[in-house]
Each structure stands twice: as C-alpha cells, then as structure tokens.
Subunit: 581 residues, 2 copies
C-alpha cells in the first residue's frame, strides 16, 4: 500500500524560505495569518490528513461508489472522516469569515488541498467541489442567495457541485441544452441532463447545492445565452431548514479508470426548482470565476499525486535490494537509472510546489491587497499561472505515477503496492476543468494576447532580474537565462502568428505551455537553491543543490527543443484533409 | 468500447514495399513463404482475430481471472476462442515443422502477434508464453525432452510458462532460491516459490509446461549456479498420455492494474518432478535464448496496443463534434492540437512497425540463411534491435494509451469507451521481461561493447548510406543525417565512459536508448516515404508523406537534446549519499 507522510518540512521551506509567506500579513485582511499561525495549522492538518484520510485511499479505490434506487453509497469510512474533517473547520478555511469561513489565506487552503489530495484525491473532491460552488455563488449571487447557501457550504455541512457538462457539450459549453423556464415567482424550472457531475449525489452531507449552467427559455443560442442557477437537492426554507426533495435525480454513475471513491454522476433535472445566480445570460462569466479557481485546485490535485508518487518511489528504492550497483550500493537507489528517475520526480514535484503555492499567494494578493496596482499585477499573475499550474502539475502526476510504477518494477503493477492507483487516479486531472490542450489554448490565445502581452512581460522581467549576476549559482542561472531568451522569442512568434495563421499557434500551444512551465520551474529552482544555501541544515542543503543541478542540466534544456518545435509552421501538416487522415 | 480493425494495408505496405519480405524466399528453408502466401495468411488471421478475439477484450478486462481451490477460471469465452485459435494452427505458425510447427517465417508470427495483441493483449499471453516455452526447450533440450513436449506446445494443445521471478529475485536472477534435488533417476525434485507466472494455472489446455529456473543442490550461488528445468503440470507418460498431477500448485493470483484476462500466478513447487533442459549450470544462458525472443514478443505487444490506441483515437476525432476549428472543420480532428496528437500517434506506431517487422526478418535470416556471414550480420541486428523493439514499443504503448484518453477527453476516462484499458494494459510491458531500464543497460553495456562496437557500426553505415543524396526527401534525410552524427558521437562517448565511470553511462542509458530508437524511426520514415512515393494511391501517398514530415520536423530533432543529456557526466549527481537522498 502507498503510504503518505505530509512533507511538512518541504512545505514550510517553500512558504517561508522561498516565497516569504509572511508578506501576506502586510495586508490588513490577512494580518493574523503569521507564519507561526500557518505553520501550526499546517502541522495540525497534516496530522489529521495522514492519520485519518490516507488510510481511506486504497480501500476506497477497491470498493468504489455504488448507485441503488437513485442513492449513492460512498466507500466505507468516507462519511465519518468527512464529518470530522468538516467539523474541524478545514472545508471553509479560506472562505471569507462574513460568510461562515475562517478567513485565512487561500495559500493555506492550497497547502491543505495538496496534502488532502496526496492522502486521497477521490475523497478530496467532496470538499473541493464544495469550495468551488461556494466561490461561484460568492462571486455572482445576490445577498439573499449568499445568505441562504454560503454559510452551510463554508462549514461543509452541505456540499456543492458544478453542473456544466452534457453529452454534446464538454469543451464547447456553448452547446449546453439544459433549459430553464421562469416560474413567475423569481424561480426557474430546470429540465435537462448533465453528465460527469462530481459528488452529484451521496449521503455525506445534509444537502447538496448544484451550481448549474443552463439556458433560459428566452435566451439566445451559444455561450452568450447561458446563465447560472443554484439548484439545491433539498429546497431550503426561509428559516434555513430543509424542505422538499427537489426534482433532480442521479440516473447513473460512471465506472472509471480511477478516483473510484468519488462518485461521478449523471443528473436528470425534471422540473427542478432553481434560482439565477447573477444576471441572466452572464452564466459563462460567472462560471469562469469558479472554473479558474477550480483549475488551480486541479493543479493541487496533481501536485498531491506527484508528491505521493515521489515519496513512495524514494522509500521503495532505498529499501529494495536487487543486484549490486556500480558504486557498491546494495539497494536500487544506487543504480544510476533509478537515481535518474527519482531526481526527475523530485525536481518536478518540488519545482511544481513553488509554482502552485506562489499562484496561491497571488490569489490572496489579488483579493486582499489595498493597493489597486498590486492587485492588478497579482491578478495578471493568477491569469498567467492558472493554465500553467493546471496543466503542468497534472501532466506531471501521470508521468510521475508511471515513473513510480517503473521504480517498483513488476511489483508496481500489482494493486496492493498502491502506486498503480496514482497513475489511474491522475489521468482525469489532465481532462477535467478544461483538458490540458484547452489550457494551452487559454495560455496562447488569451493570456499571451491580453493587455498587449503584459502578463508574459511581467514574467520575463522578473525571471531576468532574478537570474542576473548570480555567479555561485551560475550552474542554473545561465541555462535559465538561455531558456528565457528562447521563450521570449517564441512568445513573440506566437503573438504574431496568431494573427496570420492561428493553426500554427494552435499546433505548438501544448509544447509552448510545457516550455513555459519548465522555464518557470527553472526560476523556482534558482530561488530554492538560493534559499537552501542560507540554511544551516547541511543535508537539506545538499539535497536541494543536488536536485537543482539535475534540473538545470537535464530538464531545463528541454525548453530549447520545445520552443524550436513551436516556431515551425504547421500549415503543411494541417493541409491533409480530415477525411483522408 | 475500443474497436479493432486489423490494419492489413499498413502491414502489407511495410512487409512488401518497405522491407521486401519476398527476400525471405531466397532462403531454402522459407522458399514457400512467398508474399502471396504471407498476405493470404495475414488476411485470414486478421479476419479471425478481429472477429473472434477482439470481442473478448473489454469483457475479459471487466471479469478478470478467479482462483478457487487452486484452480484458475479465465474470463468467459477465452477457452472456446483459444481452442479455435490453436486448432486453426496459429500458435506454432513459425515453429519448425519437424517439431510440429508450420515452419513459416518468424516475421509472419510477429505480424500475427501484433494483431492478436491489438485485439486482446491478455488473451495473447496464453499462446505467447507457449511459444516462449517451446523456444526455450527447442534451444537447449535433449531430443527426448523435445520429443515429449514440443509437438503439443507447437499445436497449442498444451500451453507453456516461464518461471523465473521470485520475491527477492526479479531483475537480479542470481538471487533465485528455488532448489532442485536429484532424484537419482535423471529427474529432479523442485522446491520453492515463484511469483508473477503468466498463465501459470488455468483450464485452457490439457497440460501446462513450466520452464523453470532453479538451483541444483550441488550448484554454486549466483547466476552461474542456475539451471533450467521442464516441469509439467501433469506428468507425461512415455506414450504421450498424461499421468499424475505434479506437485506444483497455484497459491494465489495477482490483482493488477491491467491485463486482467491474463492470470498472473504464484506457484509453489513442493517436490515437483522436473527434468534438466540443457546442461546443469547453463540455466542463465538457456533462459536468455527464450528471454531474448520473449523481449521481441513484448515489443509486439506494445506495437499492438499502439495500433489500437491510434486507430481508436483517429476514429473518435473524426466523429466527435466540439466547437469549430480555425479552418472551419466541424469535428475535433481539425483542431490543431488534436491533429498534433494524432500525428504523434501515427508517426510512432507506423515507425515502430517497421522496426519490429525488420527485427523479425533478421531473426528469420539469423536462423535460416545458408551463408554464415549473413547469419552473423543478421544476428548482430537481432542483438542490437531487441532492446530497441522492447523498450520503444512498450514506452510508446503507455504514452499513446494516455494520448488516446486525452483525445477522447473526459469520455476517455470512462471504462466503457475502452481506451483507458489500453493505458492500464500497457504499463506491464515496460516492466516484464526486463524493465526498460534493464533494456537500456543491455543496449549500452552489452550491445555497444560487443565485437568492438560492430553492432552499432552496422547501423550507422546502413543509415548513412540510405540517407545520402536524396534530394526530394531532403526534408527527412537531412535531419536524419544530423541525428545520426549526434548518435554516433554519443555512442563513442558511452563506449569510452563505461571504462572510466560506469555511473555516467548508466545515468544516460535510457535517454540514449530513446535517441537510438528515434534515429531508427527516422530511417524507417525515410524508407516509408521512398516507398510511398512509388505507390499509385494518392491518398495513401499523401498520408505517409504528411506523417513523415511531422516525424522529421517534430520528433526526430529530440535526438539532439537526448544525446546532449547522455554526454553529461553524472558523478556529481550520484555523489549524494543514498541515506541523504
């Protein structure tokens, strides 16, 4: 079985020594969130998560969810542990205190998300979607709606969903057909079928609040005719008590490659009563407020699985004896190819953690900073980083899950060792909340083009400044500057080519996204190396410099060949008619 | 559900137009194996495999194998279809006719293996291991042993196994503990436990013949004290009838990530009666005759899954409507990122097919050619290509399985669509018969060093000659020559560094292996492009040139960065003490 020990030391190093999380307290809204407070909460969460949640992971995968007469049964232990988790106040830890949350930094919530997803990513989806639903209502709902739903979502007494996808409408939400007919009393009557609804039906909470994308009967076709609605499983009376069962039923659950403990439901809305969230026809914008945060959450899920894969592979490699290494070592960690795999895992996971937490800190700044210029800059970073966090951490989760299996050899393929589950659980992360190809299009088509390319310029300036003149860290600063030059050149090429031949830009988007992420990780490894040099812990310092060297020499140079790929025209390749392909 | 249509046109193109399979008939032993004969047999096999075997794939995955009282139940339909398959004579199609086989080319058997593995890789393991066991006995057994076991293995009336792995002995077979005590009558009594035994116990055939690696009681420790034994499930009387049940029992079966239809058994030998195959203490050599062919077979398994992933992804992309492409296309195949994924799949699968079939042809030449010099050269190619076929096709199967899921989007993660099964089935291929890291060590440590580097020199000479002076195909010939120069330089570096610092060579071995394979695929795509230009089918020609262009421009250049990685010293990276990692 895969085991999980929360990497508290690593987490604290990134927050305190690399990213200076203490700077968040300069904002009045987060003045109480001192590093000591955060460290204490992280240690407390770590203890609960590794002690109570992690043991659910393998049995939950084996048992899965079951549907019977419209009722979903979740795996054994999920209900009890979720109750403890929500009663401890972890669900709404970063939700605003005026709506029932703890008002702590979003960054802290992301750290907890990482740990929870390492422990059991399927379990983590229940609180995860609840926060997503909270964020959607918070951003666009009326005060009446907020008052009715947010406090119970913040405590996790009720859970939430995001109901977007339909069989014909996945990446293309403009094709949504679910229909909302006004009832004349301010409410709507929803008709239609939604698929792939995570946590769509279960017995873990007293109520389930569906955040539904649908089309009002008098709205136009396409994305501009969509609206968002809140549709509770049980209607909520004005005094907050629960009323009748609403007309939304779970008609089937999916049998999936992984995340078996998470129920993925088809929901049928048969005249279910719902209420507009935000103005009519602004659904796609309302949905994207929630979706963007959900994408960062998916990145945390990926990071959590990267960590789980990495720590289990290292532990196995230190324990497993098989042949004698060239250097005389008795366990497989001394075989150079195994060492290469483990260094790839560490370089990826630890580098991705800085990207993810930094994005969390920018979200905090974008929400809370008193200076509008700082908020604007922070918001630019959130926009830029969202597709990077989502795509990089999730592609890495699949890759590192596969690498962990490889380190275990044949044993990795056997369920009881637990690492094959990582590979199975991870793949969905590359698909939901926008496939990683969609993320790349978001990066290239929107983020590079916004504000005359300002977002990427901020990145180039920051990395250039960080990487200039560091003689002792030249081993990474130099290849980082080279990668950056190449990335900047390629960015200019893409910004231009989108105007003339969008197929060229689209064809290279995924490679560009990866090149951007690797450059970002180079920047992170440079900062980690700087911070590590200042620690007194010689072992920790040696570990960090070892991995930084590996990243600088063997992973960062991939940026060059990826960028070379991006800057090739694709028109000739796209010229073959689809029918002849 | 994934569907499978055997790519007969593609197969015949590679055999006839690219590799000139007709040249096999120049060897007296294969004089009857004309292209027409082979084409006819391929079409017949294709019809049976796609009609009868492919429908077993999804249900077999869902049902899996069950163990009860030492008896294994295979999925519904396996017994019946296997019986038809073996009665049609496919199992021993390439086994020598003097021992009951059909005496047709090994190349043909590999083509059938590819198709069978596309259809159901778990099912394919039953005949696959049978042929492996046949090959082991054929290479080293006495005439008496051959007479007793080979004819029934050739027809597939009996199936075979390879019993190598023990809990403490996987990659390191020198640690094998299973003990063989002489009974004084020429037979031995085997005691010990084997794990991960594919097809170790089932009811699909009248008998199961185990080819067992064990240590005679008077043999030394380590690999030099191993011997190979034949241990039948039912003892075989001198008249060929079956006698008593031998003392070998299945104590458990594994619950695995994939290949659920294949039973993976733990076998306990409790005084089981066995007979030496070959001389005592030559077990590791005997085993490797079989193992090397098994590695090529595993490559075919990978190729089969690559084809399955590719053809399903293309079909889905041509059918699925989602948003409008830049070029106005209505289905997702016109989205440039989807096209990029599909071209990667085609370039990989079709390029790997040439590598795999060519290796098959070299096996035929090494066995049958009357000229010893030709046999020697062919054997060099088999030695060189074996780790390439095994590692490249299997890594590609995981990668392309994952890409197919990505093309399907969220639907790919759902079991009923069948592509997630490809990813799950594929991963074992990277692990068994020597992990792909072991293949890389075999390539770098043995194959590059043999005969003063003669094997790689043959490759360099052949590719250089093929890629020189082809003006109309300069788009691929030029990058191929560049890749080849880099590979040659890197080969020299490795040959040297192994003498001084084997950790350097070991650290870069996997990257080198991939660079070698991509260069080989460049050579294959050049040959395919040449052959395609000569066809009259304009659509086929356009398809091939389109994919060749993609490979040349976007995949082949990876050789440069892989080789740059290989030529870096790793000593500093390996210097961190294992305990501090």
């Amino acid at each position: 079985m895969a085991t999980y020990a929360a990497p508290v030391r690593e987490i604290q190093f990134v927050l305190n020594d690399v990213l200076n999380v203490g700077s968040l307290t300069e904002m009045p809204a987060l003045a109480d969130a001192t590093p000591d407070t955060l460290n204490g909460l992280i240690e407390e969460a770590a203890k609960f998560i590794q002690g109570q949640v992690a043991p659910l992971n393998a049995p939950g995968d084996a048992e899965g969810c079951k549907l019977s007469n419209g009722e979903v049964t979740v795996p054994k232990g999920f209900i009890e542990v979720y109750k403890q988790y929500q009663e401890a106040g972890w669900v709404g830890i970063a939700n605003p205190s005026e709506w029932g949350g703890a008002g702590l930094p979003y960054t802290l919530a992301k750290v907890i998300d990482e740990m929870l997803c390492s422990a059991d990513v399927a379990f983590a989806l229940y609180p995860g979607l609840t926060v997503g639903c909270f964020e959607g209502i918070l951003a666009s709902g009326s005060d009446e709606i907020k008052q009715k739903y947010l406090p119970k979502l913040a405590t996790g007494e009720w859970t939430g969903t995001m109901c977007l996808t339909e069989p014909q409408a996945g990446s293309d939400l403009g094709a949504v057909k679910t229909k909302a007919t006004p009832n004349g009393d301010g409410s709507f009557s929803l008709e239609g079928g939604k698929i792939f609804i995570t946590s769509g039906e279960h017995q873990m909470a007293d109520n389930i609040i569906h955040f539904v994308l649908a089309r009002a009967t008098d709205s136009p076709a396409g994305v501009k005719g969509l609206s968002t609605f809140v549709v509770p499983k049980f209607l909520v009376n004005d005094d907050g008590t629960l009323g009748a069962r609403n007309k939304v039923t779970c008609t089937s659950i999916e049998h999936k490659m992984g995340i078996h403990g998470s129920c993925t439901c088809s929901l049928q809305f048969d005249g279910a009563q719902g209420w507009l969230v935000g103005a009519q026809n602004t659904g796609i914008q309302n949905m994207f407020v929630m979706m963007n945060l959900a994408r960062i959450l998916v990145g945390m899920q990926g990071l959590g699985l990267c960590e789980l894969a990495t720590q289990n592979a290292i532990a196995y490699a230190k324990d497993r004896k098989q042949g004698k290494a060239f250097n005389g070592g008795a366990t497989i960690i001394d075989h150079p190819d195994v060492r290469r795999m483990l260094l790839t895992m560490k370089a990826t996971t630890e580098g991705a953690r800085v990207l993810a937490y930094e994005t969390g800190m920018y979200v905090d700044m974008a929400h809370h900073h008193p200076d509008p210029a700082v908020r604007e800059e922070a918001n630019d970073w959130v926009e830029l980083n969202t597709p990077l966090v989502k795509s990089f951490c999730t592609d890495a989760a699949v890759e590192l899950g596969s690498t962990a299996v490889q380190v275990y050899g044949g044993h990795g393929f056997i369920r009881e060792h637990g690492v094959e589950q990582i590979m199975r659980d991870a793949k969905i992360l590359c698909l939901y909340e926008g496939t990683n190809g969609i993320q790349a299009m978001d990066l290239v088509r929107r983020k590079l083009m916004m504000h005359n390319g300002r977002l990427a310029q901020r990145f180039f300036a920051k990395v250039r400044s960080e990487s200039t003149g560091d003689a002792p860290l030249g081993f990474i600063a130099k290849p980082l500057r080279e990668a950056l030059d190449e990335l900047e050149k390629t960015t200019a090429w893409l910004q231009e080519s989108f105007k003339t031949n969008p197929d060229d830009a689209g064809f290279g988007a995924v490679d560009f996204q990866r090149a951007f992420c690797l450059t970002y990780l180079g920047y992170n490894w440079l900062r980690m190396a700087k911070a590590a040099i200042n620690t007194n812990d010689e072992t920790f310092k040696a570990q960090k410099l070892n991995t930084a060297q590996f990243f600088a020499a063997r992973m960062l140079p991939q940026v060059m060949s990826l960028c070379a790929n991006v800057r090739q025209p694709a028109s000739e390749l796209m010229a073959l008619d689809a029918a002849n392909f």
